[in-house]
Amino acid sequence: MNSGLGEFTFKVPGGKLVRATVKFKEKIENAKITGDFFLYPEEAIKDIECCLEFCTPLESEAELATRIAKALAMTRAELHGVSTQDIARAVKGAIQNAK
């Protein structure tokens, strides 16, 4: 799949819900991460979404998780209820679900 728009949602066991909505062609053009998790500071959500842009859809969950972790480290942001791996899983799932 070379392009598309996809969404994936899941509830982390014992945690919160995360949803990724991803639009991509050769690269991720737009990623929106929503859910009932907590992130401090809240504005760091933009850092997560920005770091995903320009990733290729072929990157693994682990690679995506590393990118997200680096983005959060820049502002020492803290995620609660979901992890960087959970967000990466949602992004990958959205790409795989794309139409």
Partner: protein, 232 residues
């Protein structure tokens, strides 16, 4: 929400004291967490039909139906250094006040990380926290009564239609003060309030002119605005 933000700004600038407030939502309303999608979480058409308003919070967490009859809502705002530095520890400390309040009603409640309080294994209080401009704001709900039918009509909790099975499932996960004891709404409020104030020098007061003016501005320009509520 506007009052919370105006108070936060006031505390940050040194013009407002640390504040604890208790309130109820009139009309009943839905609030969603900062990171949620309004369209995904709320049936806006049903809200319109029922005269139920909606607003995005500054804090994370989930979508909440705030029933006028069934809920006590609180906010606590103070400089960050009044609380533990760690997020979980600060939730534990503030939720501990609510646990203590339930204890005054004879209920054995416990804090369940990240942000819930449970009685008999069921959720009776949800809480959400943000830290901005050196001030910690935590607000949350104390469920006095459950209005599940209305809640399911305005919140997109599931893709299934409302069913007895779904309501029964929710009843297994959520409880309220009315289910647990005979306390009145006023007695519940007094118990929670008393627990929050224990050990604290305090005075009962009202909003300052500046706080009200700023809150009115925020209510009009931010919390009523499509740009904010449909942010994500």
């Amino acid at each position: 929400m506007a009052l919370d933000e105006a108070c936060l700004e006031g505390i940050s600038s040194g013009n407002s004291p640390p504040t604890i407030r208790f309130y109820r939502w009139q009309p009943s309303a839905v609030s969603i967490g900062y990171f949620q999608s309004l369209d995904a979480e709320v049936n806006l058409e049903e809200c319109g039909k029922r005269g139920i308003e909606f607003v995005r919070r500054q804090t994370g967490g989930g979508a909440v139906y705030h029933d006028f009859e069934g809920e006590i809502t609180y906010s606590i705002l103070a400089p960050e250094n009044f609380f533990p530095k760690g997020i979980t520890e600060s939730y534990r400390e503030i939720c501990g006040m609510i646990v203590s309040g339930f204890g005054k009603l004879g209920l054995k409640a416990e804090f369940k990380p990240i942000n819930d309080i449970i009685v008999s294994g069921k959720k009776i209080s949800g809480n959400a926290q943000t830290r901005r401009k050196g001030v910690l704001l935590q607000h949350g709900t104390i469920l006095y009564g459950l209005g599940l039918e209305t809640m399911f009509s305005v919140l997109r909790i599931s893709q299934e239609k409302i069913s007895d099975k779904m309501i029964q499932s929710a009843k297994e996960r959520v409880t309220c003060v009315q289910e647990q004891c005979d306390s009145s709404y006023g007695e519940c409020l007094e118990a929670i309030q008393s627990a929050f104030l224990e050990g604290k020098n305090h005075s009962f007061g009202s909003w300052s002119k500046d706080e009200l003016s700023r809150a009115n501005e925020l209510a009009e320009k931010k919390y009523s605005a499509r740009e904010w509520n449909f942010l994500r």
